[in-house]
Structures are given as C-alpha cells and as structure tokens.
C-alpha cells in the first residue's frame, strides 16, 4: 500500500535516521540529568515560573498569566 510513497523517496531510512538520532539524544540528555543527581525538590517560587511575575504565595494561579503557580 505504501509502495508508491517509499519508491518516491529513498525509503524509511530517511525518517528512521533522524528518529534514531533523537532517541539517542533523549537517552543521553536524560541520563546526564539523572546521573548528576541535581533534581532539587520542587519549591514554591516567589515568581511565576511561566511569566516571571511576582507571585502571591497563597495564590493557586498567577494573576499575570493565569497559569497554575509552580
């Protein structure tokens, strides 16, 4: 069914090579992130993580951008 599409291009390798590249990068960056043990416990920031506006510590959402306070 896909013969025409594949024949038109070189084959699935043209998609698989970038996919493999991305998978490798994901694994590498994820391992580097975890191996470093740098994952700090999430803390309530005084500024909105999304828009950097000052955040009321009791607010559930940022008054400036509307996102949930992280």
């Amino acid at each position: 069914m896909l013969t025409a599409l594949l024949a038109h291009q070189g084959g699935w390798d043209e998609v698989l090579i970038p996919l493999a590249l991305i998978a490798g990068l994901f694994i590498w960056t994820a391992r580097r992130g975890h191996d470093g043990g740098k994952h700090a416990a999430p803390t309530r920031s005084p500024v909105c993580a999304y828009c950097r506006a000052p955040l009321d510590p009791t607010a559930k959402r940022c008054a400036n951008c509307g996102f949930r306070a992280r």
Partner: protein, 335 residues
C-alpha cells in the same frame, strides 16, 4: 477569496506586520458600533488563549474534514455564527482583549506578524526590527502551545492528505467513514507534532531541572516560524496559481456576468511557476523556518539556563527540528 484570506494574509503579516489589525471585519464592525470599548466583565486569565482555539479548530474542520465545508451556504452560516460569537466576546470582555485571546484569526495572524521586520514600539510608532525579534515578546498564557501545535499539525495533515499513501488508505471510504478518517488524520497530525515537542521539552527538563510544561510554554514562540514555514511551503503554489482566480472574481463576485474592473475574463496563468521552482521555494521555506525556530530556541535557552547547561538542553529540540524538517520535506515530496 479563501486563498487570499488563509494564505495571502499570513504572507502579508510576516512582511508588513499585523495587517489583520486593520483588515479584520469583526474588529471594524465592533469599532463602528462601539462594541467592547468598555468590557462588561474582566477576562479570566486562566482561560488564556483557549477560546481562540475553538474558531481555529472549527475552521480546520470546515477546510480539511467536512465534505461540504467549502459550500457557500455552509460558509455563510459559519461566518454569521462566528460574527455573532466574536462580537459577543468583544462586548463581554473588551475588543482588544478578545482580539488577543478569542478571535482565532487575529491570534494566528498576530503571532505571524511578530516574525515581520516591521513592528510597533510602546508608543505605537512603526519601527524596523530584526526579523523574528517580535517573537520572544510573546506572553506565555494557557492554550498558547495547543494553538501553535494545532497550526503545525493541521498543515502537516493537509500535506499528508495529498500523498499517495493517504489516498491509498482512504480510496475505498466515502460518506461518514471518510469524514471520520479525515478527522482522525487531522487529530493524529496535531498529536504527533505535540508528542514530538513534548518529548524534546521533557529531555530539556531533565537537563535543566525545570518542569517540562514550563519549558514547553516558554519555548512555544520558537514554533511560530515553523508554523509559517509549513503554511508557506504547502500553500505557496496555491497562492500564486489559484490566487490569480481571485483577480477575475473581484470583477464578478456573484457570478452575475459583471465586469467591474475589466478583469472578469482574466485566466489563470499556470506557467507562472514551474514545478521545480515550487519545490525549491518549499525547501527554502521549510529549512528557513526550522533554522529560525532553532535560533529562537537557542536565544531563549541562553536566558533560561546557566551557560554550561544551555547547550545541552537544546540537543533534543534540535533533533526534533531535524525530524520536522525531514518530515515536512517528506510530506511535500510525497504529494
């Protein structure tokens, strides 16, 4: 007129800035009748840009999914309904606010206008700026990522729906089954694009120790050049070839035999662009759009992360850009 509107206005926007702010019939109507000068209610910030996604999705359904979506009667009903909803939104939450978060076309063209080398400064004066320089100023808000991913995913599906693979898959379908297949294809296009972006942001999150959703929102503006590149690559031939039909239609808009501007008998010149020229233009759009996206992402990463981590957060994003570039060209070449 569909070609001039959906394809022509984006091109004008990325060259001349926010032309839709002047052209919008809904904004003009609201100004004419002083609708939304004083909003009845304050807009809930938590809604963000989600209301703008509704007309965008409806428009995409008409364009890409529903079999009778381009019939004048259907379009007229949709236009009247959208006019009523838009004016109601402007009356309730204010004209400027609704143009920013609810009027889907204003939101789309407004995002594209930030690519333009022409913009306005804080005092409203027209200024020259580097291309793309307006995009980092996009304010983060709920729905922004979904809106941009819908643009990218829908254009990808539109391109893929012309490929021999899709034609083979849907050859035996008709009626409701074909409509459902088209709807599923559209949804799949949006989900695949969103999934790839989410994965790249998750990888950056692991390196940068920032929640992936925060990154997804703060890097969302980097996808706008890609959204335009996809639209430009897919529709450039449509604009330059079928767009010519609009010139003759201007003289006879109702098919009543008029010749208002003497152009009613003008025929479409299909030799204006060769297939080679179209292909090279498509490659240039796709590659330039992704280079623009990577440039903006690098710029944002330097501001978000310490120098030692900034580069590493971008590897996965760069990989996704390569995939999007190859995928975009793959879809275009398969048509």
């Amino acid at each position: 007129m569909f070609v001039w509107f959906w394809v022509g206005v984006p091109f004008l926007s990325v060259v001349f800035g926010n032309v839709w702010a002047t052209m919008s019939p809904w904004d003009t109507l609201a100004r004419l009748f002083a609708i939304g000068d004083e909003p009845a209610r304050e807009y809930p910030k938590s809604w963000g840009m989600w209301p703008a996604l509704v007309p965008l999705a409806a428009f995409l359904l008409l364009e890409l999914v529903l079999p009778n979506g381009s019939e004048p009667r259907v379009l007229a009903v949709a236009l009247v309904a959208y006019t009523v909803v838009t004016l109601a939104g402007m009356a309730r939450y204010g004209r400027a606010t609704w143009n920013r978060v609810g009027e889907g076309f204003a939101v789309y063209f407004g995002l594209l206008a930030r690519i333009a080398p022409l913009g306005r400064d804080a005092e409203g004066r027209v200024v020259l700026r580097p291309p793309l320089a307006g995009l980092p100023e996009v304010e983060p808000c709920p729905g922004l990522v979904a809106f941009v991913m819908t643009l990218i995913g829908s254009t990808s599906y539109d391109g893929f729906s012309g490929s021999s693979a899709w034609v083979s898959l849907t050859r035996d379908l008709s009626g409701a089954a074909l409509t459902i297949a088209r709807g599923a294809g559209l949804l799949a296009g949006v989900l695949v694009a969103s999934g790839a972006y989410t994965l790249s942001m998750s990888a950056a999150s692991a390196v940068g120790n920032v929640h992936w959703h925060v990154l997804a929102v703060r890097f969302a503006h980097t996808l706008v050049p890609i959204a335009f590149a996809y639209a430009a690559a897919h529709y450039v031939s449509l604009l330059l070839l079928e767009g010519q039909a609009g010139i003759s239609l201007l003289s006879d808009p109702f098919g009543a035999g008029w010749n208002l501007f003497g152009t009613a008998t003008r025929e479409v010149n299909f030799r204006l662009l060769s297939s080679n020229a179209i292909w090279y233009a498509q490659v240039v759009f796709i590659v330039a759009g992704h280079v623009g996206g990577v440039t903006l992402a690098h710029d944002r990463a330097i501001g978000e992360f310490p120098p030692a981590r900034a580069l590493r957060t971008q590897y996965a994003f760069l990989g996704v850009m390569v995939l999007f570039t190859v995928g975009g060209l793959f879809i275009l070449s398969a048509r």
